[in-house]
């Protein structure tokens, strides 16, 4: 059944007709105590929805919609390992990756929680060996640099987490440098290799399929670099001492040359963009230590329990998801800005771009019909205080409606005696609160704004959510990311789409293969469109 056929959808449409005329500033005037109505907390995380264009009635209708879409049933299917990724006929069990040791979950006749923890323990052993300086390279020197080679889900999550939590490094991890390389053109890698010491560098090749061309191209470049720097060690020795493979396809990793002892496994039921909780998180564990990584998992698990067990009315992922549905499907807002007010979270926009747009950027329902409603909006973002000097102009005075997520930590630098940094945090908080206030309420927040010339006016009414962490720790970070994962899942249930496949990224890979041939000498180009032919000829001419 299409979501549009539910009673709640119809009711929401009529409600939206009335609400679309209203302004957030008016809602505050009518109900000054909106924060206590629309502020929701779980553990160390607070969600403020009061600057959304909603009333009590909006929320109750949205919750009715979630119920009519059987969100509860779908959630249980998700956690229980039903094959809800139907186009690939497998479960999506990222929640199992953070389930505590000792719990049980049988999927397709196999007990998986124990297996998950066996893999984590194998990863711990590798992390400890590297941290203790006992992972040795081909010269016998200890490894002091790790380069993660991966792309998409094998890059964005670990990259974001390492940046976000670098202040939480334990002493034994501080001597280790962790770098990330993803781009297919080799520019990141070439830049890095020029100043790394091959004898002390370890490459982590992360690829679920171990066929990802971007990753393998970089891995080959890394291998050749190592070979060129060592004339004494054989290729098999170099690979054994300088490469770790993280993959769900151990055979492919082995045939590339990575021995079983250097492999970490995960499973095909772990989607790439949901995989940082698995051994794909090795760089995170290298940065935070095994204990720190477990704290990230514990935070995510706490959010899982909250999502699974809390009534929708108080359920953070459900609420933030349904607010999205409201904005997208009933207020027709198709742009979503992610605005972390914290330099440590600078990579969260890129991460959420993949999580949300690769999951829900679809227009076909689970039973193969075209959707006749909008799905995932366009997401982008930047560290808020930097974006204030860039695209906030459009948010404040442009023609597009944009919903905004402000993410900020209440406390920072409180355990230092650096007054300057403490002051910078106050400045940052002040800006975060100021911007969401103006975006939502417009220039009504100051006296006499109506006397200003029209080009100095701020219309406001951009719906804003504030996510306030007590402080950014491995635990709250885990909570935050798991909240977004479940938000994406909830929206997929409403829209009746499968969020766990990504068929839209396949064709490009195939066509690139044919074009690779076409770029070779004397290749025939007549099969291509005239634009592609023209470009190929121009490239050939420039390379002569």
């Amino acid at each position: 059944m299409s979501p549009k056929d539910t009673q709640a959808w119809t009711d929401l449409q009529s409600h939206a007709y009335y609400m679309s005329q209203s302004h957030i500033s008016t809602l505050f005037q009518e109900s000054p105590d909106r924060f206590s109505q629309f502020g929701f907390a779980q553990d160390d995380l607070l969600l403020d929805l009061s600057k959304q264009r909603i009333t009590d009635e909006t929320l109750s209708l949205l919750i009715k919609l979630a119920k009519e879409r059987d969100l509860k049933g779908w959630t249980e299917d998700l956690f229980n390992g039903k094959h809800i990724n139907d186009s690939e006929d497998r479960p999506a069990l990222h929640t199992a990756l953070r389930t505590p040791k000792g719990d049980k979950l049988e999927v397709d006749g196999v007990e998986i929680i124990e297996e998950v923890h066996q893999n984590l323990e194998r990863m711990d052993a590798i992390v400890n060996k590297i941290h203790s300086g006992q992972w040795r390279g081909y010269t016998g020197h200890s490894i002091n640099t790790v380069v993660n080679i991966g792309v998409g889900g094998s890059d964005l999550g670990p990259f974001m987490a390492c940046k976000a939590l670098s202040e939480n490094q334990p002493a034994e991890a501080r001597a280790l440098k962790v770098h990330f390389v993803s781009s297919m053109d080799g520019s990141q890698l070439a830049d890095l290799l020029s100043h790394l010491n091959p004898a002390r560098t370890l490459f982590v090749i992360s690829s679920k399929s171990f066929t990802t061309i971007d990753t393998l191209a970089n891995a080959n470049t890394a291998k050749e670099w190592l070979k060129a720097s060592s004339n004494e060690a054989s290729e098999s020795v170099l690979v054994a001492r300088h490469f770790i493979g993280v993959s769900a396809s151990p055979d492919k990793a082995l045939s590339w040359g990575i021995p079983e002892s250097n492999q970490l496994a995960f499973w095909d039921w772990t989607g790439g963009r949901y995989s940082m909780w698995s051994t794909i998180g090795l760089p995170i564990a290298l940065k935070l230590g095994a204990k720190g990584f477990r704290e990230v998992l514990a935070g995510a698990h706490a959010m899982d329990c909250h999502f699974r067990d809390t009534p929708f009315e108080q359920n953070l992922p459900v609420l933030i998801a349904m607010i999205g549905i409201w904005n997208i499907n009933f207020l027709n807002i198709n742009a979503h800005a992610i605005l972390p007010y914290d330099g440590r979270l600078s990579h969260i926009p890129a991460y959420l771009e993949q999580l949300e747009m690769e999951s829900n950027g679809k227009s076909v329902t689970r039973d193969g019909k075209a959707t006749d409603y909008s799905t995932c909006p366009i997401l982008w973002g930047e560290v808020g205080t930097n974006a204030q000097h860039a695209f906030y102009q459009l948010l404040h005075q442009g023609t597009e409606s944009v919903m905004c997520d402000f993410i900020v930590a209440a406390r920072r630098y409180h355990d230092t005696d650096n007054a300057e940094l403490q002051h910078q945090h106050q400045l940052n908080l002040a800006n975060c609160l100021a911007q969401s206030r103006i975006l939502a309420l417009g220039d009504s927040v100051i006296e006499g704004a109506e006397d200003a010339p029209v080009y100095k006016r701020y219309k406001g009414n951009q719906p804003c959510t504030t996510i306030l962490l007590d402080e950014l720790t491995p635990y709250t970070f885990g909570q935050l990311i798991a909240m977004y994962e479940h938000k994406v899942f909830v929206q997929s249930v409403i829209w009746d789409i499968n969020p766990f496949d990504q068929w839209g990224v396949e064709l490009g890979k195939k066509v690139a293969t044919t074009l690779l041939e076409a770029l070779g000498p004397e290749a025939a180009t007549s099969d291509f469109d005239s634009s592609t032919q023209g470009l190929l000829q121009h490239i050939a001419m420039r390379n002569q």
């Binding site: 060996k129 203790s132 006992q134 040795r136 081909y138 010269t139 016998g140 020197h141 004494e232 060690a233 054989s234 020795v237 054994a240 001492r241």
Partner: protein
């Protein structure tokens, strides 16, 4: 003379022993515990040749007694030999002495608190009434501490007060008979000189090791280069033996102190680099073995000869053997070790570990061995019975961390030989 020595490490006990032996009445205060408890000796006297006997004799003759801090105040001459991190204890001692002994109080600082610290302690005293701090750097090398104290060639004294200088000369008279010169300077200059000397030695060791590693890569013999170098009178032979790193507690502490000072005051990494490279150098023998066996040592049996940080001492402080054993354990080796003096200390350091076996006979340690790492150049290792070695070893491989063996001869006997820079 009645003298109180404050401290509980090698320099304190060495000063106490030597001063008592030459007829002084020496009291030693090993801790500032006002309850009257006396601490255990903090370092292993047995590591230091001759010291135990000298102390036993002094105690038997009643010239050396261990006393509480309150009793310790009663002397008019004091020597403070504390650890680098015990400056605040030194301050406490000086403050209480200043109150107790209001004139003619001599306090000799023999601790490594850094440049300028003796002057800072002097500020707690009243020089007008002859309350004076002086600095007498300890010139002790572990393994020959007592000898070094009793027969110095040069005495550097940091002291700017004539009365104090007179007393110091009297105190040191028994040890200054064959002295070539007294070097008298300000306490700050003396502290700097001590630092500068230690740093110079570390730089020479760091430099020759760096050259040796380069020689390895360029396939030349560092011994030939070294002989060429020392034939230049401007360079001379001292502290130019390449090897698998220096250790010991004392030397390392001085260099670390100087390195921190250079980094703080000058933003200079010069000595820090020496220290970092020295730590790597300690694993040089391991690395040669590692490469010999294509980077896989799992289940190999490895022998180590020499565990103390240098010959003539049982001390394993910062010894290359510690890192080497840790690394071999992590790589899954079985390790058999031998040392004439330091075995007990190693057994204590590593505890029970089924991968590690400590044996009394150096040849027994070679049974079925895949390689011998020589880490300390004890005299008894210099001319071993090669046939016995060949019979016992599974693979006749020697990694000579101190360049004590004749490379050509070993090779002609059928050994595979790796040295440092050769």
């Amino acid at each position: 003379m009645k003298i109180t020595v404050w401290g509980n490490e090698l320099p304190a006990w060495t000063s106490a022993a030597a001063l008592a032996e030459s007829g002084n009445h020496v009291q030693i205060v090993t801790g500032l515990d006002h309850s009257g408890n006396k601490n255990e000796i903090a370092f292993k006297v047995s590591n230091e040749p001759g010291l135990q006997q000298c102390l036993d004799q002094a105690i038997a003759d009643n010239r050396l007694v261990s006393v509480t801090a309150d009793e310790g105040q009663t002397a008019s001459s004091h020597i403070i030999c504390l650890n680098p991190d015990e400056y605040s204890t030194a301050k406490e001692i000086v403050q209480s002495l200043a109150k107790y002994q209001q004139n003619n109080l001599l306090i000799i600082n023999q601790s490594n608190f850094g440049v300028g610290s003796t002057d800072k302690l002097q500020l707690l005293l009243d020089e007008q009434n002859n309350q004076v701090m002086a600095y007498l750097p300890d010139m002790l090398a572990e393994g020959s501490a007592l000898k070094d104290f009793k027969h110095p060639e040069t005495l550097i004294v940091g002291c700017s007060n004539d009365w104090a200088m007179l007393n110091i000369k009297a105190l040191m008279r028994p040890f200054s008979q064959s002295l070539k010169q007294w070097m008298i300077m300000s306490p700050k200059e003396a502290e700097f000189t001590k630092f500068a000397n230690t740093g110079m030695l570390a730089l020479r060791l760091g430099y020759i090791n760096e050259l040796a590693n380069l020689a390895d890569q360029l396939d030349v013999d560092i011994e030939v280069i070294r002989e060429g170098m020392i034939s230049d009178p401007r360079i001379g032979p001292h502290y130019l033996h390449p090897g698998c790193g220096f250790g010991g507690l004392h030397f390392q502490q001085y260099i670390e102190g100087l390195s921190e000072l250079m980094e703080e005051a000058r933003n200079s990494k010069l000595l820090d680099t020496v220290l970092v490279e020295n730590e790597k150098q300690k694993e040089q023998p391991f690395r040669k073995l590692w490469r010999h066996y294509q980077c896989d040592l799992k289940d190999r049996t490895v022998t180590i000869w020499g565990l103390s940080f240098k010959p003539g001492t049982a001390s394993i402080d910062n010894a290359p053997s510690l890192k080497t054993i840790e690394t071999l354990l992590a790589q899954g080796c079985k390790i058999m070790v031998h040392d004439p003096e330091a075995s007990k200390n190693i057994a204590q350091y590593f505890g029970d570990n089924e991968q590690l076996e400590i044996v009394d006979c150096c040849y027994q340690a070679l049974q079925n061995s895949d390689g011998l790492l020589l880490l300390t150049e004890w005299p008894e290792y210099w001319s071993p019975e090669y046939d016995e070695m060949l019979n016992r070893m599974r693979s006749p491989l020697i990694v000579d961390g101190r360049n004590i063996f004749d490379k050509e001869m070993l090779q002609s006997l059928g050994f595979t030989y790796y040295g440092v820079g050769r």
